[in-house]
Amino acid sequence: MNIILIGMNHKTAPLEIRERLSLTCGNDANHLAEIMKFPEIQEVLYLATCNRVEVLANAVDTAGAVEKLRAFIFHHGNLSAEEMARCLYLHYDDEAVRHLFRVASSIDSMVMGEPQILGQVKDAYRTAVEHNTTGVILNRVLHHAFRVAKRVRTETGIAHNAVSVSFAAVELAKKIFGSLEGKTILLIGAGEMSELAARHLLNQGVRKILIANRTYARALQMAENFHGTATDFDTLAEKLRDVDIVISSTGAPGYVITPPMIEAAIRRRKNRLLFLIDIAVPRDIDPAVNEIDNVYLYNIDNLQDIVDTNVKSRQREAEKAEAIIDDEVGKYHEWFNTLEVVPTIISLREKMEGIVKSELVKSGSWMQNLNEEEKKNIEILAGSIINKILHDPITGLKEESRENGALPYIAALRRLFGLDDV
């Protein structure tokens, strides 16, 4: 194997360096062309996101290719030698494959399990394919990586459960209401986190949003942003009758929502469930309202606890994912080993002989009328047909392998004759 992976991510390089590199590089296909000019490199994939820059290459001459790639990054990132030594990582062969699998499966992401990275890897691969910079080896590695990512996603809980406060609020709302279609939110006060939560809820099909603020003008302005309705702060108690979810984050020193307000509202709303989210510090909603039937109150600490638990559970799931990746790296390695000429010839023969054997068994019923010698002759005939058919491909393969270009032929042969289907 001559696979090299060189790159930097959020763990090894500070933001400013990643910035510099992704600004000049981006996902620009010109760089693919530039890298392909290095004679040491046969295939290349270039991936740049806001958290990472990675170059995956299949090289003819590993050492030379690494030098060229370093120089390439050095040049484009405008890095000092010291910075480069600190930020860049370099993986070979199995380890390079493993790194790619981990990246695609989102184990290496800043927010573990986030779904975007797989799409970014796919985009990078598409660009590479369009510019014809991938071949037998990288095609196989990338397709394998997509499969691994899918397997990790379905077999582990790495992408389950919210890892941000605003998403945790959405998950809770779903746990209470099931679908959020047609529900109404009341947003009290302003604040980054509460507005984010409101946006997430709107994305889930919430129908209507009411906005209350001490300063009515601010409420009007936010209402415009959210396509909602501004409402008077003094009529909050009345509004509680009609809404399903309340997100509160005012700067008020005392409670804005009290148990008597909620009790009165619950009676008027015929016991429909009410979910209250209190993001404010100091708190806006009297914790005693959680004791009221059909009312569920979560404050910022409660939500943060959920997020912490979820982060821990994703980390546990990551261990399972690592095991899957180990397994898949092993499979890739096995496949790679089959790319030798001799094993391919052997499995090709075995496949043919297997076919003959099973056809003879199938024909057993009419062949029982033949005598032993006739049966033997049929077997010999079948065997010599195989030999004749295989003669040209095998000779061709051997010739190509002497000229060191057999890989595509082997891969094609294995694919066409289905030698990798187990």
Partner: protein, 272 residues
């Protein structure tokens, strides 16, 4: 004898589905629960076939003896659950329904070998109708109480901020409340009709519509609770916690009438 054969097959397949549902909770995979639902359906089919054979072989609607009734109860509950499963999309409810079905089937299978002769007094078309209506209503109430129990569990977890573990397995509060409501809406009229048909028959058999027999009294008490619950839901707009709790309480009373009375009391309502 075909009926017992299919009954045994149903019993075995129900057992497999119970294992499947339990596994699905343990491994937390929807796929396992889906497969379990299909297995449960297969068991239900075997069970249905067993009823048909029993009907053909005995010549009476097989809901007369207590064992037949238990089996029918299990069948009705499984049927109602399966019928509404696609709508409610709460496969985890199967993890409640399938073990109860299986246990009922074990109890039923103890007395279903061979046939009993039916007393002359029960040879009326009203009797099977009475049993089918009442038992289907009661099976719906059983499902309502499962949904109610799950509601109370899920609600307790949400109120106490323990939403990271078991809570994930349970459906949302609104879904559970809807199932509870639905089963109540259908169970109540069925049980009511069942009791009315029973009293029509009682007139011909006992000479009076109502005997104040322990079984009748307890059923009446449970019926009153259900009537109250239905009223609160429809007229007052009860939802959620209180409704779930009352549906559990009412079912507990119904269970006394269904099980305890036949075992521990002398009742005019026991025939075979």
């Amino acid at each position: 004898m075909m009926d017992t054969m299919f009954l045994k097959a149903a019993l075995a397949v129900y057992f497999v589905s119970v294992l499947g549902y339990v596994t699905s909770i343990y491994v937390r995979r929807v796929m396992v629960a889906k497969v379990s639902t299909w297995i449960f359906f297969l068991a239900f089919l075997c069970h249905t076939i067993s009823f048909i054979f029993r009907y053909l072989e005995t010549g009476h609607t097989p809901v007369i003896s207590i064992y037949e009734t238990l089996s029918f109860f299990a069948w009705a509950m499984a049927g109602v659950y399966l019928a509404f499963q696609p709508k409610t999309k709460t496969r985890v409810l199967g993890a409640f329904v399938s073990p109860v079905t299986f246990l009922l089937m074990i109890a039923a299978s103890k007395g279903l070998e061979g046939y009993v002769s039916i007393p002359e007094v029960l040879k009326s078309n009203l009797v099977p109708l009475h049993v089918i209506l009442s038992v289907t209503g009661e099976a719906l109430f059983a499902l309502a109480s499962f949904a109610g129990a799950m509601y109370l569990i899920q609600e307790g977890l949400i109120k106490n901020k323990k939403v990271s573990g078991f809570s994930r397995m349970l459906p949302s509060l609104s879904d559970l409340d809807r199932i509870n409501h639905f089963c109540l809406m259908w169970g109540f009229p069925l049980l009511t009709l069942g009791v009315l048909v029973g009293s029509l028959w009682a007139r011909t058999a006992w000479g009076s519509h109502w005997q104040w027999d322990p079984k009748q009294v307890w059923t009446l008490v449970a019926w009153v609770f259900y009537a109250l619950l239905l009223h609160q839901r429809l007229a007052i707009g009860w939802k959620g916690h209180k409704a779930a709790f009352l549906s559990l309480l009412a079912f507990a009373i119904l269970l006394v009438s269904l099980v305890a009375i036949n075992l521990f009391f002398v009742t005019a309502h026991s025939f075979i």
